[in-house]
Symmetry: C2
Subunit: 383 residues, 2 copies
């Protein structure tokens, strides 16, 4: 529990209070979007250094701790989360007190288990890479025979940013993969020969209204998102429609409220779901400057039962993550259309500590500005 409280963002007036489970950069950016709307924030995070703490009351404690949950959610209009690893049991505990938890806790159950995620997609007729359940070594042998190689072995639970997975290219990789990951519930997935990785950011209000931002093209390296381009280059109306239809099915099925990120493989125009994130998402950060309404604002509007804002893009945009280090602000801000987002986190190798959004009116201008980021600390862009 904190020793003293931060002044309420609302002064004397009654104002909606949003409690956020998790106090990282996503919570921070939710608050930056919500404070202008008159929303006050509380965060629950295990770390006293949680970066969102600068923008609201920070309760320090485990995300599943009952006392901490009561403290952070008391009097909140709605409770949300900025990490899909939040214990679903804790979320249900809060929901049982009558305070809405949105997105609904079932979204955590689904997103925390790769098997449930894939089963949900299949039930809704949404494509995913082929997969097989692997609970023991014999399952793995069978699955490799059934799906063929290359394939990726993944833990059903707890994987993120490329952790908890390993690729199999030839039969002798079975041994290594099993020794790396065996012992917990796994799934084997076909390695899809995708043309590119995309994501669709979708939002659904409590009234059932839905909207999607234009598809985003994502570039990963070492399992970590490095760059996003939005709208995705060469985006067709048909591809956007396909993505919106599949996102809409997921949102409706889960009776969702808030932003849902769906990571996709684009295989010659066919979209396969790779992963769901029931929260605002790194591939949606470009919407702060690049869309009429940001993912952060629309997430808040959705969970507070306020009307959704337009998800239309403004111009063309790139989002470049700052990983392990922050570039010099003056160097970034000298680049036309560059917008700096420093998460105020201690830099550590592999840690996302900020991002730069570059806005432009056309692809050529965008390419030029992005190229000027090359060589700056923390960013990874083609020179």
């Amino acid at each position: 529990m904190p020793a003293c409280s931060v002044p309420d963002a609302q002064g004397g007036r009654p104002a909606p209070l949003v409690a956020v489970l998790g106090g990282g950069q996503l919570g921070r950016m939710l608050a930056l979007a919500g404070i202008p709307l008159g929303i006050g924030f509380r965060f629950l995070d295990p770390s006293p250094d949680a970066t969102a703490g600068a923008l609201g009351l920070l309760v320090v404690g485990p995300l599943g701790d009952e006392t901490a949950l009561v403290h952070v959610t008391e009097g909140a209009a709605v409770v949300t989360y900025e990490w899909e690893g939040v214990p679903a049991a804790g979320a249900r505990l809060v929901a049982a007190t009558g305070t809405p938890v949105l997105p609904p806790p079932v979204a955590l159950d689904v997103a925390q288990d790769r098997l449930r995620e894939k089963e949900l997609c299949h039930r809704l007729g949404i494509g995913t890479p082929e997969f097989a359940v692997v609970d023991d070594r014999a399952d793995l042998e069978r699955a490799v025979k059934e799906l063929g190689l290359p394939a990726v072995l993944k833990t059903r639970r707890g994987g993120y940013d490329g952790k908890g997975q390993t690729a199999l290219h030839e039969p002798r990789d079975v041994e290594r993969a099993w020794s790396e990951l065996g012992g917990v519930p796994l799934v084997l997935e076909s390695l899809v020969p995708f043309d590119r990785e995309l994501s669709v950011l979708a939002v659904r209000g409590r009234d059932g209204a839905t909207a999607c931002w234009p598809l985003v093209e994502n570039h990963h390296d070492g399992g970590i998102l490095r760059r996003s381009y939005a709208p995705a280059p060469a985006l067709t109306e048909q591809l956007q429609d396909t993505a919106e239809r599949l996102a809409g099915k997921l949102l409706d099925e889960l009776e969702y409220a808030g932003v849902l990120a769906v990571e996709l493989f684009d295989v010659q125009g066919e979209l396969l779901v790779n992963e769901l994130a029931p929260r605002v998402h790194n591939s949606g950060h470009w919407t702060i400057e690049g869309a009429v309404t940001s993912q952060f604002e629309n997430h808040l509007r959705a969970i507070l039962d306020w009307p959704l804002g337009s998800t239309a893009a403004i111009g063309v945009n790139a989002m470049v993550n700052c990983i392990g280090a922050m570039p010099d602000p003056a160097a970034v801000l000298a680049i036309p259309g560059a917008h700096l987002h420093d998460y105020a986190k201690e830099p550590r190798p592999g840690r996302k500590v900020g991002h730069v959004t570059v806005t432009a009116t056309d692809a050529g201008e965008l390419r030029e500005s992005v190229a000027r980021l090359a060589g700056l600390p923390g960013v990874d862009v083609p020179a």
Copy 2:
């Protein structure tokens, strides 16, 4: 002095700290723009309820108090202010310690005295309404004869939002005007038959680089700004050039850094300076969503010696003040392109408690959206 401190926005890393004299909505919006850039904030304000206090450390004390000034500015990279009424002596006291105070304190001297303001303009060949110094009743009689009527009698110091001024339409108004305002240094100004009120928001970096946002058309009522339209309707390149030239002269003469707002009368295409505000300004709030770089971000870039960002407008925009009351968020957010800014201030009659920016792609769309604000509490728009 506060009983406890808010966590530094920067976590473990060294980060520029900006001290702001004044902790109202302008300070609040400076912080909302600066926190993503990795800037930490401290505010000095006489009120413990100062709304910027939610976004940084709030020191409660008089703006000219030496102890409070030392406390709030210690360790700051730069000191700025969000109100032109800040005592210039206090600002000079801080500057004498070696911490830059920007905009420079001379800008306070000028902006706090209508006579110095006008004399500066005249020295630079910049037009203003005709005026005469009024120190006693005889001066007033003389000035009325010299300038003719109608005219406006204004206190040289301390006027804002229509306070400290009164109009004279016929000779018998002299008596009333003198009894209202006499006894302090005054100026009489010709009442200019202007076509409209405009303002130019200008910014100058510490390196001397300058930029201006497109001219803004402002609608006042009862001396309080109600609505701004940007870019100003029917804005010509010539008018913009004229405004940029006069703003540039002022910025250079004052060896300025930061945002300067120049309020103007448009008299058949001739621009006369009405008033200067050496700070971010209500008529520049539209830049948060309506320009590539907001006035708040560019003010911070300028005073921190970082490169200025583009001041280009995105589409067409209207800013509508919320005065005395806040409209229901859900009602505002249902309007296409509407962006809500709640200052978290206790509503009182005549008090600016928030604003709504409406963004649109063309004037027709803008007009439709603005009209939908009509009738909501706190806003004053033509139905």
